[in-house]
Symmetry: C2
Subunit: 457 residues, 2 copies
Amino acid sequence: MKDKQIPYKIYIEENEMPHSWYNLRADMKNKPAPLLDPVTHKVMTAEDLSGVFCDELIRQELDDATAYYDIPEEIRSFYKMYRPSPLVRAYCLEERLGTPAKIYYKFEGNNTSGSHKLNSAIAQAYYAKQQGLKGVTTETGAGQWGTALSMACSYFGLDCKVYMVKCSYELKPHRREVMRTYGASVTPSPSTETEAGRRILAEHPGTGGSLGCAISEAVEKATSTEGYRYVLGSVLNQVMLHQSIIGLETKIALDKYDIKPDVIIGCAGGGSNLGGLIAPFMGEKIKGEADYRIIAVEPESCPSFTRGKYAYDYCDTGMICPLSKMYTLGSNFMPAATHAGGLRYHGMSSTLSQLYDDGLMEAVTVKQTDVFAAAEEFARVEGILPAPESSHAIKVALDIAKECRETGEEKTIVFGLTGTGYFDMMSYEKFHNGVMQDYRPSDEEIATALERLPHIE
Amino acid sequence: MKDKQIPYKIYIEENEMPHSWYNLRADMKNKPAPLLDPVTHKVMTAEDLSGVFCDELIRQELDDATAYYDIPEEIRSFYKMYRPSPLVRAYCLEERLGTPAKIYYKFEGNNTSGSHKLNSAIAQAYYAKQQGLKGVTTETGAGQWGTALSMACSYFGLDCKVYMVKCSYELKPHRREVMRTYGASVTPSPSTETEAGRRILAEHPGTGGSLGCAISEAVEKATSTEGYRYVLGSVLNQVMLHQSIIGLETKIALDKYDIKPDVIIGCAGGGSNLGGLIAPFMGEKIKGEADYRIIAVEPESCPSFTRGKYAYDYCDTGMICPLSKMYTLGSNFMPAATHAGGLRYHGMSSTLSQLYDDGLMEAVTVKQTDVFAAAEEFARVEGILPAPESSHAIKVALDIAKECRETGEEKTIVFGLTGTGYFDMMSYEKFHNGVMQDYRPSDEEIATALERLPHIE
């Protein structure tokens, strides 16, 4: 076995954990475009946003000048319960593959929410509590974000109201019960609790709901209830900021052993994990201090980077949220029902979109069945049962490691393992039974969805 | 916050991990009684057991003289993928409780199998592989052991045949699919694959199966198939030996910070976790080097220590396995169907039984609804969603910490958090909905089950 002086798991010490988040936008030469009002198309100000989001989070959202934000002590205390997360050297996988490549993964699944989402959930709950709010609302689809937010709110004694897409609510009772364990109120969406919900129920009585509808309900509830605000687990700049903890810890761990990655790989849905993982590395790349190959991996069925358009678009199906300039497939694009994992969002973080447009990172798509095959190959030697989302990154890491086997190159690969797949076993079952399907949207399908892009002067 | 120099999570370094398992029996003054043949009542020899178990595991099973067993390098490599497990200082819980007690827990749930069972599964798979076997068979109820064994067999390229109690197979499809992900063959028991299964199906066509029946099927399959042996995840001495890694790591972590526990608490079903956690501490206690209060926590519905008899009994319902001297409720005792967690075994490890009989440890029972309330209280501040089994220990740890709040005592409490509850959300749901029931078996029920004890001369 190679390099045995590097441990299987690099745990940085508690006192080595980052004291600040890193705001990559401060170092970007081309800044991400600002949010626009969905009706007037004017640049959104802090005041415009204050009925929806918490004040401090708005400040973070709009600030592209401050490079570092101190992490408040209360948040650091919570982080210490499940962080630092391990940077794992995949010795067993390397040996099984017979590759000279050195593979590392940053594992964010070792907490009850099962993913990296908790990193931002606890920050958002903290600032809501600091502002004296009573509670927050959000939507959840697969449930990772809702679970993370429930845990965070429970910790700070904040009410948590989750609108869960109705079909998920019914198909994923386990997820729902984890949220209830943490004291959250979980409502299947569409519900009769909101105007938006009642309208949709009247039009489509038997609907299983959608993320777009759940967002509308959550935003309406937050803006119409005293002491409540709305929070979101991906896409936003504030989320990228909080998630930078992933990349910062990774960098500290690598530096301890003088390891320089050649390739950094992350799955990309809205961008919360990828943006966090790459933040400090991309900062060095922009400043010319180091060079890294950075790869975003997206599902073939929801290819925003690789087949979408870089344009201002609605962030939600209901067209009530601000407009964001991003790679988008159109705000009513829906990945096929056969698509199992998350990574279903039609758009992408505006920060990552700008970086991609600037040629600072690459993007590739992978097929669903290949993703599950890679997940299983990984699980059997590395032990961890990966989430389908994370497995997109695994697939590409395995491909590159296998290429190295052919070429003899000793590349150092780092990828983000965002979470565990315990609540995705029904998708694994489809894969085991050979009934999982791949789906590639047609050019027409994407073109049609893009017809709804707003016309920005 | 108190003692901030002690980190939230004490991770020992990889090079501090134990190189040997500790065989507590070697230091016991009164040795556990030997296994007897279920028919002849003669002491079982290695030869008698060789058709059922792997040779090296038989040696470990029968050896009460060797204090330390080297952990083979291949097993250490696997351990390094998910160990050392963290010893967590429950600062957040202490603060919430307002207790002067210092609470630590050894968390064994940070691996895909979700529990400590993997510590022995990997050892048993390794010795089976070393012996040149083709595969192993086992039974599983709730599925933790089956999952752990599947992972271990997958790692060493060994066939794994799991007989899963039919009602669990149907009610817990997630668990089943995790095992399939690791390449195990999972058969609902009773099945038509074995004599034992066919006999039971003929007698009870619609049965949901039982652990006793699944054991009979697994043993029959192992003894009738070339190159196969049977393996078991609890009760046995070999399992206690492998699980000593839990206690050894705990001790190293505590010693690093000069922490002396006053109380050590573990849940007790067959004893695999408790025996492992307490091993080095009990060794010191026996040798008079230190004193600890050691508490076994069992469910009110399956109280082997507190209401059972210390006697030779059958280890299985089918009465085909060796007889073991242990605290037992009778080999056909079944905890009520309303009992949610594991810890359903009618007997107890013979080692722990002897220690309890010698007055070296205490045992208490707790009610199911109290256990789930404690689980939820713990989850909401410490983040981790605990398994129902582990939550038995949490309940008693919370009780003692609350007593300390009254008395002002600064007791140091260490408990074993054996695993996570992701696959137990249906039980949590019952608890949330207020329909979970407690059950205390009547004296008559226990007396009736004990009528089937074998008569040993």
